[in-house]
């Protein structure tokens, strides 16, 4: 109560400036977090849609192909498969290349190996995919297996790098907001220097004097984080509305920050305010 009452007495200028700066710092962090969350979601969608393609040896007869298909079907983790004979593979190839390469129709069907498209029961890690591909390749009649391993590895590496960057950027922004909070509260402390002296002379403990500053810091941090969320929300709305149509199929589920991240951001705001308040008290005490 005392902290809230004191908050009303704070000079608005420096307090609002501090609040705005905390808000800006946290909005940068929240935008970064937003990008990483969406990239992660996109990657997980792609991972879920990963398809393994098995190329069979050419020249297998009907019963041999049936045996290979049975062996693939019996492999753990396979949900469904789809066999494409050479003529279908050629047809699909020509369809995909339409407009890019002309004059491919005369190509011999024998050039296209019989193919099996395999769908997974559940998304697998890169290691899981690699191991499944090895097991499929070991089946007699399977010449090669492709699952986009190198591409997926690169995407996952990028994601790991972005995750690490989030924390590094987050740590820097957290320190910045901490210093801003501490400096804003130091100004407040300085403004109330006389009052604090009077309180000390009347027997107030340091805890009694400092508690309102720490609570004020927490409130300032929370308000700063809320402001950041608001700014990030507005920016997100603007960007989402202007997303080019060609990007939509790749980013089917662009969303704002998750509840977990929102709560984390608010928590970090409060924590930075509390630490800022303590830091300013510590400096004043010295």
């Amino acid at each position: 109560m005392r902290a809230l009452r004191d908050l009303r007495k704070v000079r608005k200028g420096p307090y609002l400036f501090g609040l705005a700066t905390i808000g800006m710092a946290f909005s940068l962090f929240s935008l970064f977090l937003l990008s990483v969350e969406n990239l992660q979601r996109m990657l997980s969608l792609w991972q879920r849609g990963v398809e393994i393609v098995c190329y069979l040896e050419p020249g297998l007869d009907g019963s041999q192909i049936e045996e290979v298909l049975e062996a693939i079907r019996g492999t753990e983790g396979i949900a469904e498969l789809h066999y494409l004979p050479p003529e279908k593979v050629k047809e699909q190839f020509l369809r995909e290349m339409e407009g890019l390469l002309d004059g491919l129709e005369p190509l011999q069907e024998e050039l296209f190996p019989p193919t099996v498209e395999v769908k997974l029961q559940s998304p697998l890690s890169l290691e899981g995919l690699r191991s499944l591909a090895q097991r499929l390749k070991a089946i007699q009649g399977v010449r090669d297996v492709q699952y986009g391993g190198s591409w997926l590895k690169r995407a996952l590496d990028l994601m790991e790098f972005l995750k690490a960057s989030t924390w590094a950027v987050g740590a820097v922004l957290f320190c910045v907001t901490l210093l801003i909070s501490a400096n804003t509260l130091k100004l407040v402390f300085y403004e109330r220097k006389e009052e604090i002296e009077i309180l000390r002379l009347m027997g107030a403990t340091e805890g009694f004097i400092r508690t309102p500053f720490v609570i004020e810091g927490a409130i300032q941090g929370l308000l700063g984080a809320l402001l950041a969320l608001l700014l990030a929300g507005v920016l997100f709305g603007l960007i989402e509305g202007k997303m080019p149509p060609w990007l939509v199929p790749y980013l089917p589920e662009v969303r704002f920050l998750s509840v977990r991240s929102t709560l984390m951001l608010l928590g970090l705001g409060i924590l930075s305010g509390i630490l800022g308040g303590l830091l300013s008290c510590l400096e004043q005490g010295q």
Binding site: E194, I198, M202, F208
Partner: protein, 222 residues
Amino acid sequence: MVRFFGVSKTYPGGVRALEGISFSINKGEFVFVTGPSGAGKTTLLKLIILAERPDRGEILLDGVNITRLPRSRIPYLRRKVGFVFQDFKLVRDRTVFENVALPLEIAGFPLKRMRRRIEQALRLVGINPGLFGQFPQRLSGGEQQRVAIARALVSNPPLIIADEPTGNLDPDLTLEVMDLFEKINLAGTTLIVATHDTSIVSRYRKRTLVLQKGRLVADESP
């Protein structure tokens, strides 16, 4: 109530404020500490609430040797002493009522009983209830000092010390404030008033400690 044994205090830079001061003040006494500016009156009062620490000697407050009292215990010592300053030291952005409430808030006094206690203290010093919600800067000097006195006595401390409490007041208000101190003392509170105003000292005829250049040169009783 207060005992000094050979107390000396020198400020950084070699300024000697007090030298070998010894005296004893009993419970319920009214004592003036007088002397010219720079005699060491304020330092003596500051030592009682440990706003300064002595370099030598011992100080006993209510039977407790406070000379080496740990820093963490000082707030609790100060709650036993009401302090009145020449410049009133009222918090500008708190109302009269809130200013008087401060010592009770600090001591963790129950909110329910606070209001009655504050009103009693303000009435005792003659503050009109219409002024309870006013901010100090709206009051006259005499009213501000009476609010400061109400704040000093609201928690019912056994000792009140006042440093030049009439220094900023005109002669009529000076007498009003001194009469108030006398009234408080009659109710049993020990009072130590530092003043350089010899007319007050001679008018009120109380025990007087005379300081000169940091030394106690006289301890006169009426």
